[in-house]
Symmetry: C2
């Protein structure tokens, strides 16, 4: 598969909740589904929706079993998402480094490894690294009517640096 | 609060989906809820339901926002859960080390950091460390009618060592 097709397919699988697009070690697990490390390609956060270098490592897709999908997202220093909302909400679990998140109208909140965040449906927000430190989080994103994110405008340098 | 009360309260909060029992930094986040690292006490996996040394670090409770709660669970070498089922299923995301899981009637599956597992509702299973290596996972457990686990018998040494 062509690299860009692969990236697009992987991104769509994460964003659009398509379990069939993911490798899963189902046969061997007798009732459990194992999504093996290394079985799903990493991909870059697309420039339309992110600033800076962002790598996404899929963990599991949404499916009949539940409305959440999961991915580990790794922001290099200075990298951040665009503003966006989630129609059915999103949890973040910070696994490494120090980053920032902000809901519209609120302060920028600093996040550290071990912190967890709940962003309710429809709350406009962004998240990413600080200018000088990388940040990784697991994102658990709920799906409603096959959609789990509404992308909006980029976070400007002025908004990011305050 | 007395230590055992604290442990019981924290365990019940994780197992019984009681958001009010958890410290959450809601005011500062303008629409997002931040569960700060260090704000929720760690507790030991109770001897009724675990063998060996198991530490649970709560991440977020179930709530109106979704039926999943999350905790990081850390198994020392030789430690494992009892057999159990989840009425609404459970995801595991392995964050460190190497461990084992088994669904009833199936083989013991080895798990490594980066692996994710879906255990469907009602599937009898156990998970834990190997005899010689620790394993940590994030457990994302769905709740149905206020309940997210049905504990069964311990995993015998014979079953564990095969």
């Amino acid at each position: 598969m062509h690299k860009h097709q692969s990236i697009t397919a992987a991104l769509l699988a994460v964003l659009c909740a398509s379990p069939a697009a993911h490798a899963a070690d189902q046969a061997a697990a007798s009732g459990q589904t194992i999504y093996r490390a290394g079985s799903q390609p990493s991909f870059a956060g697309p420039v339309a929706n992110f600033d800076g270098k962002v790598r996404v490592d899929p963990l599991f897709p949404a499916g009949a079993q539940g409305s959440f999908s999961a991915a580990a997202v790794n922001f290099e220093p200075g990298a951040r998402s665009a503003w966006h909302t989630h129609p059915a909400g999103q949890y973040l679990i910070v696994t490494n480094g120090t980053g920032w998140t902000q809901a519209e109208g609120g302060p920028v909140e600093e996040l550290h490894a071990g912190d967890a965040v709940w962003c309710p449906p429809g709350v406009k927000h962004w998240h990413g690294a600080t200018p000088t430190t990388a940040m990784s989080h697991i994102a658990l994103t709920a799906t409603r009517d096959g959609k789990n994110v509404e992308w909006l405008e980029k976070v400007s340098a002025q908004q990011y640096r305050r």
